[in-house]
Symmetry: C3
Subunit: 663 residues, 3 copies
């Protein structure tokens, strides 16, 4: 396996779509460009099992062998995102259903029900064959499950899912009385006399019970994770290569903390347009800590994204393709794959950008791809022997919060992901504070500061962890709009924040939505402080400090932000959402009191400290992702490995520039 | 029953959602705030009949008793808006169907078919039990049927409804030939050979026949009214307490003239945000005359409205909660109930504002609620012994017109309710002209002036009434866009206004929609007169006076507004919609010629004259609903009852101020 | 038949909707206004066959006879757009289905499946009767099939259509292997093992295969054309009168090249509002050449369009009704019919404008209608003995391109019809270049210049034709966004333009969408040249001239427009979409090099040269369609036939003026 080492740079490849004679030509083109990894077989079920029970892997062996012979590593995918027509025609029960109950038809992708036993059986069979046939190739460096679980549809409303959903609830609540009790089904006569009365959230004249919707989202997320686990079990029997699946940005509501719990490393498909390259950062920042292993960017666009996204916004400025590759490596990735190698000549994604046109010539991405390919060769030792320094700051992202906020009834027009992105996360990023994105169950004891904005549900386990974290010296900044629901998606009866109220040392006396236009806030040092969205007004207990108070409106004079020292650490509770400018200044100041972070790059330049085996600082990688260039200040001088030249303590990057400095 | 007298101030209460031990605590909180009425049991079917045929009212007796013991009056609701899961699971035929024919599922509310015989049977049984059990409690001062008939869905497309719709048409038209004749089904080969061929307006490639749609709306409205009547018949057997149901603003297309015809008093749920408090007025103005009894505001928001309406716009400025309560009392109400007493800790409406938070503490509404509670005690005698003076001006609102205009094909983008609200109604309101909102069958002989704007259908009965009204000395201002359809929702063949043409003494020679930008109008005294929407151009008969004519456009020079003296009175016909400013000035001037109304308050201040048993003027109640305050001029001095101080002939109200002046 | 000669002016008439006694009154009103043609019986199936197998044509004979006796020509329609209720109730299989598979209900129109054998049978029977009964009347000057095929719905998703679609594909591709091969179904495991696995494009989680969607659109278009052909075959047995159907603007996706191939003359319904009168021109410009016979405007609005289009925008400025009639005659039409004669008193289209109100008086259109009626009498000889000079310039419109672009995935937010209209077509119109609108199979050898913008698919036959055209001396301007798909709706593997690349003498090296904001273009003589949408960058072969190149962006310096002389002619290929101003100037200049066209009217004035039997110039007809008036320069003096006065070489038209000048 020595031949097939990271760092990887490559693309997705679909030899099944082309004449057999194209294989050699394509591989030779790959070598010419510097491809050292391809992902393969993702949607090729119909080629592997052209008829029920008849298998054909010859074409795939031929491709895998030829790629390996050329020194190109291979990722093999399970083809379960696209059942063949013969399967869905003969066994229509495997098809996913819409909220109306109507089944989808063959012709696109992801039209299967993840809970269908028949589908699972066919899936198990094809994966068994596939893993057995390809499990031992040294060039097969990884497996990918399915493709983008939850993309297009994240829920199925068929009768199997209805049955399984009831079973799922039975496991959690044991008795229907307990479920009624926990969900508070007494209103609107929703109360169930048996689990069999529980509906899927199909069309009703008004909104379904939020606990039902919440648990249905949880159930569907669980269904995909469970299906992934079943795939993993099979592959593990036949192959030692690590297993992943390609995630997507979080809006598909699939809980990645759960999904990746049984996988070996994280990977993601990143289709943010070049102008939003900074949105790669939160994605890389959750992939790095989740498995504590180098992650992969499994897909990104070379020149344009097809389908229904305007391809125009994907035309990259000079340097941007190289910059995004380096951003991925810098923050802890070991692979970047473009989608796709060669443009399709048919089908739904013909318009999608690629490294090579359908007619065989390289696209506009050619030059920079080749450059990155050479650069990672040149810096291979540095990249392999170092990794990003562990950040002192973590920020929680919560799928249960996403499920709740996506129901749209809590704070209309509030978008959890956008608000999280644009405010709390981006403030850290722009201040040059390196950060990990954490999930509710993440280990947090090694951090200095943890932020939990908009974390609607703080589960008991997380609450206990965080309390421990604070008592051990950490700073926990929680809110706004956090901890107001319990794990059943209902409100606490004992107070707005439930058991957390005791911990924060303040009583939430009032709660209301900020009127349009917001309200003024008294916050020392910030004349223009104001707030919006949601207001909790506190009565502090003794020993709790008021940081900010409402300067007008119905809770005028009451506390809006409080702070409480606990053990060696501190909790700050934001009762409301500060205006961006003030939030930014204040938040960074508070964090710096606890975490000796120091911004090295300017806005738009990501500077990643790389440490060696013994946690010693070995160098930095700096990437300008905003396309504006700028100066960087280091602690000492070093060698810039791409140019081989000396890097001074202060040097500047050109637009989309990259520097790999060994210190 | 002496203990439980109006005026009432209270809230909706859901003891079934809470532990039994909370009952006493909540009642003690109610007493503390000054609650003297609660509405109860609205959605509690599953608690009353936990399984088919097994009834349990103990919990409700306990609550009603405890409330009564505390001196709090009770309104009991029939729980029929929310059938239990066991019912819809065992008898799915009771579920309402969507236009596609698909049945709704359990889990929200109002998912029943009002025409289902099975549903009616279960409904009758539970109401019989409920009425029998609670019909004699002195504290039960009223009954509420169901909840917000027609909210969420106002039509059902199931097979029962299809059958009943045909039956409904058979009763009206007797033969299908007659129906074909009246509807004019000859076009598009729509003609029916039998009633069984008449479809529900389910999906079709283009619009359905407007007469079909119109009669389907009429049928569905009738179905709910009929269901209400069935509920009334049962309750009346067991209880002498008056019966109502809680209406909503008119956009749900349920004809309240029909619905309330068999009920004892009117009530309504008013969720207009504080900035639109003036929209309470038309609601109160139809509730007062319809039953000639004090009405109730059955629901309004204390702090925020939940569900999908942004709660933020419901944050009240100081004084606004008190002002809206007083507005309701001033214009003839005897009860104001907030929704809800205590915030839900679970379910679809957790976010809704309340008087008390889920955790038991009073919300931001506390202070003003308590104040109103004390104020109505202090002014009880005045409120009980007086009532609003009967207005001299009436304005027609027509559900059949709403049904027609809501089809959207007559004048696209025209909104009947908004245009009626913002123009004709509001002109009266802003001029301080007290007014009643009338329905087509209302008695009108006691008024001096009646306006009928946008009254697309003027039924024969109404036409005859109005003619009599005019001959007896009244002023009838009709139009624009009135009387252009007959009762079958078709056009008149004998002229644009059908039989009305003879009465108005003018021939409608041309009809067209005003071009974008409108047209100029010649109207003496108004230089900037223009018109929009719809233009009828008249040729006046001898004796008919031209008030305004078109100054440009295709009907240049023709009459746009005509006036005809008839008997002792006068008819003015508006052929087009004047621009707001001119309409306002001209209309108020015309009205004042007939009705000696005199504005007392300024814009935004409602001044209601209160008269005693012998129609003598006893005092006034003034409320500022615009939040700007202002001066008021009275005929003589009096005593302001809330402060106990002398009120001069001229005095001023602070923002959201209230004055109750005994003269 | 001598009595019933063109030019015609009239309206649609529905005697079945009125009392029998109205017939004589209406005919006398028609005579009074100058109507000389009516269209009749369009939706009257229920009157012709009131019950299954029972026919009644007496009422229609009566009407046709009375009209003929009055000297009014008649167009009889087959009533198949509106099956009677008895038919769809007894044979529900004839109903069209929505994408969900649900059947439409009776009550509107066009709710039949064009492929239903049962429907075809009933249709054949009623048409047989109708044609037999009315085939020999001299006053029956034409037949209209159905009404607006494809209006409202252009696809049916029923089981019959599924079966027929597979049959249709079997005929084209013979084997499923061949279809898989041609469509490239290898991706997403879409590959079919048999034709029975091919789905209709019903709901799926993502887009269907574009070739499938494309062929489904083709199939549905073909289905309607095929149904039309079946109707034609029957009528031809019994009548010698010419047959047409009333088309609509192209957005309904019905391929008119196919539809009209078996019909005798073209006709169209034109409901563009008066402010967009110029949009009549492309409609008239395809109707004139397609059958090389005078076309008919079968419907246009007299005063307002009903249904859901705001009628307000249809109020005509003085002269506009006359101008649009004359525009139709000038460009080669022989009939203009208004919809409708007399406003309906019932049904879906009551609000639609008309020549006479429901109550029998003429509408605002009266004066101009009467004027046109007299004017065509006065100029009858000139109109009959001359026709428009054949244009030297043709512009391709392609339904297959429309089908492709309407899928929305190629260039999101690109609207083929609008871009074609507003840019390429309108540049010709505004420059006064007379033009024919051509379809892919049109004869083109007689033109000097052919434009093919946005012609996504250039079929082999068309490619060969165009090559021949160029070799013979023509100028072919192709692009942008042309020729990038083959006839299977897939991409070419051998190069971006497939076989066309050889012909144009340039290699398409890069393809990308222009970034937002566009890019600059180097084009000699045009400083402000820029481009947008789509960019193909060429490497010219020897002998190919670079006309324009990209001035910035990723293809900076590469050719954007190339030109190649071939035989006696020339091909210009637009690789990108130039900004409107530059495109306009440059394009007109290029065209003028080849076609000695010369603008005679100014912008907004259409001047049509009329030639006699021997192609000699006999005169001109000029119409101002922009309502601004302006001057006209002729080659010589003549007589203006409407006034009988001398027309100088230079004269001017008033707003909406018309001049018919005999030279």
């Amino acid at each position: 396996m020595n031949k097939f080492l990271p760092p990887y740079l490559g693309a997705a490849y679909y030899p099944e779509a082309w004449e057999r004679t194209e294989l050699e030509k394509d591989i030779s083109r790959m070598k010419e460009l510097g491809v050292n990894v391809v992902r393969i077989a993702e949607f090729a079920w119909i080629f592997m099992e052209p008829e029920e029970g008849k298998y054909d892997f010859e074409w795939l062996h031929r491709a895998v062998r030829a790629l390996g012979d050329a020194g190109i590593a291979v990722v093999i995918c399970t083809p379960t995102a696209t059942p063949p027509a013969w399967l869905t025609k003969k066994y229509p029960e495997v098809l996913a259903a819409m909220p109306t109950g109507q089944k989808f038809v063959h012709g696109a992708r992801r039209h299967y029900c993840p809970n269908s036993p028949v589908y699972r059986e066919f899936s198990n069979r094809i994966i068994t064959h596939l893993a057995r046939e390809f499990g031992k190739y040294p060039q097969v460096v990884a497996w990918q499950l399915d493709n983008e679980f939850s993309c297009h549809i994240n829920a199925c409303y068929c009768e199997i899912c209805e049955r399984e959903f009831r079973q799922f609830l039975r496991k959690i609540y044991r008795t229907v009385e307990n479920l009624n009790q926990c969900w508070g089904t007494g209103l609107w006569s929703i109360k169930f006399n048996s689990f069999d009365e529980i509906p899927l959230p199909k069309p009703a004249p008004a909104m379904h019970h939020p606990s039902l919707i919440f648990y249905f989202k949880y159930f569907m997320s669980h269904s995909f994770s469970d299906y992934a686990r079943e795939q993993v079990r099979i592959i593990r029997k036949y192959s030692g290569a690590p297993i992943t699946t390609n995630g997507m940005p979080p809006w598909h509501e699939l809980d990645y903390e759960d999904l990746f719990s049984n996988l070996d490393f994280a990977s993601n498909d990143l289709y943010y347009p070049p102008a939003e390259l900074w949105k790669w950062c939160p994605e890389l920042d959750w992939m790095r800590p989740i498995k504590k292993k180098p992650y992969w960017v499994m897909e990104t666009s070379a020149t344009g994204a097809g389908g229904l996204i305007p391809a125009a916004v994907f035309v990259h400025n000079p340097g941007a393709i190289r910059a995004k590759c380096w951003l991925a490596y810098a923050l802890g990735g070991e692979a970047v794959l473009f989608w796709l190698w060669r443009a399709h000549w048919s089908g739904q994604e013909m318009e999608h950008g690629s490294l090579v046109y359908a007619w065989g010539e390289p696209t506009l991405a050619e030059k920079e791809f080749r450059q990155v390919s050479k650069e990672i060769e040149k810096t291979r030792d540095f990249l392999i022997s170092t990794k990003p320094e562990k950040p002192m700051v973590g920020i929680h992202f919560s799928y249960p919060a996403l499920w709740l906020f996506n129901m749209g009834h809590l704070v209309p027009n509030f978008n959890y992901i956008n608000s999280w992105h644009e405010n709390y996360y981006r403030i850290l990023l722009d201040a040059g504070i390196s950060r990990d994105v954490l999930y509710p169950d993440s280990d947090i004891m090694d951090y200095k500061v943890v932020l939990s904005p908009f974390m609607a549900i703080v589960p008991k386990r997380t609450r206990n962890k965080m309390y421990e974290f604070v008592r051990n010296g950490g700073l926990w900044i929680i809110g706004p709009m956090s901890a107001f629901r319990n794990e059943h998606a209902t409100a606490f009866k004992e107070g707005a924040y439930g058991p957390l109220e005791k911990i924060i040392g303040a009583h939430i006396r009032h709660r209301f939505q900020a009127p349009p236009g917001g309200m003024k806030i008294n916050l020392a040092g910030y004349k223009n402080a104001s707030c919006s969205l949601w207001c909790d007004a506190f009565i502090p207990e003794k020993g709790t400090k008021v940081i900010a108070s409402y300067a007008d409106g119905p809770a005028k004079g009451m506390a809006a932000i409080v702070e409480r020292k606990t053990g060696k650490g501190k909790i700050i509770v934001l009762g409301t959402h500060l205006n961006r400018e003030v939030l930014s200044g204040w938040l960074v100041k508070e964090i710096k009191k606890y975490a000796s972070v120091e911004p090295e790059g300017g806005k738009g330049i990501i500077v990643v400290k790389r440490i060696g085996e013994k946690r010693s600082l070995e160098g930095i990688i700096a990437v300008d992702i905003a396309g504006k260039g700028g100066g960087i200040a280091l602690e000492k001088e070093g060698i810039e490995l791409l140019t081989g030249k000396r890097a001074g303590k202060v040097f500047s990057l050109p637009p989309y520039g990259v520097a790999v400095v060994k210190l």
